[in-house]
Symmetry: C2
Subunit: 378 residues, 2 copies
């Protein structure tokens, strides 16, 4: 298959860019002396994750137990489920462990820890559990200095679970846009998580693992003393949000949506394409950043950015391409982009856009394409 | 299965509400003396569409050729593909027609019409094509008074295609919020499409079908003189955007996302749930409306709205429930919504939220649930 054989809209992966992104991150982690545990929620695709493992990854991070099941079936055993454990998902986690999956789970509350420990005692299973640490006020987790930290640790240990370590995710790093702010956030993430580990150890509790990470902080950290492993997901494809953050350029973005021009509103300067929000997702992550790309940066069929052209609005299966946010009425859009023209759209957020498609079309340097299935759901 | 057996997040369909929504729309269309062609892009689910057909629908509308293929395989033959035909999709359309599908396609340009006619001549097929009319400046289509209308019609007829009619969609109706504005938009949609049909007929061109519709205009039109059929999609489930538009209440919304509380940030008044944007979609359609629901209205497990509680922010697999947009620090959220609590979230946009799930769980009045598969992709 080549691009012109593919029905649009379709998700394309530039494999050379993907491999370069994987290499860049793994080399960095090797230089910093930490293990790297990629977050596979971005791709949900065995072929992509295989490339990450071949480059040197140690285990994976998942956002759903379905991801754990799928990648365990593909041969990966060292898996961190990085979303706070709901008590009603423990049976599913138990089933995975019973099959031989070295599944680690996460909690940030005493009641969560007690539920995990109690379920383990009831079923004769010792669940390895990591405590989630809040190092940036972004989402879940126990603050490093909070008395709650030791309470959660003791609830696990006293209840018979295994306290395996601490983990944090500095999601606030997505709101940074200068190298200085990124380095500062990376250090804050590192220091907070290491401090939490130290407090647990000082209280006589075990804490073997210190796991940190997000794509921006992983690519900005100057040193990772006390950290044992780093996690990151979106770096494998990158996207326009990450370009605005400043950790990649448009030329690093490996995921795009192939689309076809299906009509025009000439007097408005609109080309209508068959990639709407069902293809791009509704993610408008660049809206609050320095450069707002609408629903995506328009490129030609070879992937060369057409500067100034964005997917400025989207309905379910219709997208509107304009030469600026409001359209350029001086431009004869129908002459520039006639019906049938193929374009590629770089996405705001690779995790959200990829999730809209049952498969990626991996595009090699020779232009040949291979279908890489991906899964969805829970 | 009952609700407590279902792994979260999960998409629930309240079947009693769905049936009432279907009945309301079909009764209205019957009273107005027009056929009704539901848009199945909302559900992509055979069980839902079967209920619409049993209630009296005449054919269906699709937004992708995959929907056409899936519903043709389920026994439906009268299908309108309501997105402007891309030349590179004609082979797929031809394959459907050759199998016996009475597929109608759409164009709004001379080049599109010529491509359809030429492909038909080349393959000995007469494609029934409708001309898309722009009655509100919202998206695609030829304006009713534009000279282009007759050019497109002649390109079809002279080229050997079948000009079957005209169709329009007043997407701008989503921006209305008063009965007066809705009635006015419905009349604008009707009058514009009927006028386009009249111009074609006056020029000696055939125009059997006059097809209009959107959920807001279908539920607001006072008379549909000259219209032969109406199309609408989201009415089958409704959502918070439609509640803000004023064509349903929260109690009519048949789709919700079942979720579980997995943690808290007590001092911020946050409950963390396992429905993030992957479950809800990134659709923030109520953001620009009178009432902004964040990522959704929170209800208890039985579906009763908890007034003031919304899903105020979302990461991929984490949602943040607060008692107001910014959180209510006076409330002990962990006491009100302890870990393990199940909630239902009403979505901003049913088409976008449903698309995130491989299946719906249809919930009957007795609380028993049945899995209804849905498909995705192109």
């Amino acid at each position: 298959m080549t691009l012109s054989d593919i029905s649009t809209p379709a998700a394309l992966v530039d494999t050379a860019r993907m491999q370069a992104n994987i290499r860049r991150m793994q080399d960095r982690m090797n230089a910093l002396g930490v293990k790297f545990r990629p977050h596979v929620k971005t791709s949900k695709c065995v072929e992509v994750v295989r490339a990450q493992v071949e480059a040197g990854a140690s285990g994976i991070t998942v956002s759903t137990l379905k991801e754990a099941e799928q990648f365990f079936a593909a041969g990966i055993t060292d898996i961190l489920y990085a979303v706070g454990m709901a008590p009603n998902k423990l049976a599913q986690a138990l089933a995975l462990r019973r099959k031989g999956c070295d599944l680690k789970i996460v909690t940030d509350s005493v009641e969560g820890a007690q539920a995990i420990a109690a379920f383990g005692r009831e079923h004769g299973e010792v669940f390895e559990t990591w405590i989630e640490i809040d190092t940036d006020g972004h989402r879940s987790g126990v603050k490093p200095e909070d008395a709650l930290l030791l309470d959660v640790g003791r609830a696990l240990v006293d209840g018979g679970a295994k306290l395996g370590g601490v983990m944090t995710h500095a999601g606030e790093s997505y709101n940074c846009s200068t190298p200085h702010a990124l380095r500062k956030m990376a250090e804050q993430e590192r220091a907070g998580c290491v401090r939490a580990a130290q407090r647990l150890r000082d209280a006589g509790l075990p804490c073997a693992v210190v796991s940190v990470g997000s794509t921006p902080t992983a690519l900005s950290a100057e040193q990772l003393e006390g950290v044992t492993e780093v996690r990151a997901g979106v770096y494998v494809f990158f996207d326009l949000v990450m370009a605005n953050v400043g950790v990649c350029t448009q030329d690093d973005i490996a995921l795009s949506v192939l689309t076809t021009v299906i009509g025009h509103q000439r007097e408005k300067g609109w080309a209508i394409v068959d990639a709407g929000w069902m293809a791009m997702s509704r993610d408008r992550g660049t809206q609050s950043q320095a450069h707002d790309y609408g629903y995506g940066q328009v490129c030609d069929a070879q992937g060369r950015p057409m500067q100034g052209f964005v997917l400025s609005s989207a309905n379910q299966e219709h997208g509107v391409v304009t030469a600026s946010a409001g359209g350029n009425v001086a431009l004869d859009i129908a002459a520039v982009l006639p019906v049938g023209t193929q374009l590629r759209i770089l996405p705001n957020h690779a995790c959200a856009t990829g999730a809209q498609f049952p498969e990626y079309h991996a595009v090699g340097t020779d232009g040949a394409t291979t279908a890489w299935p991906r899964f969805y759901g829970w």
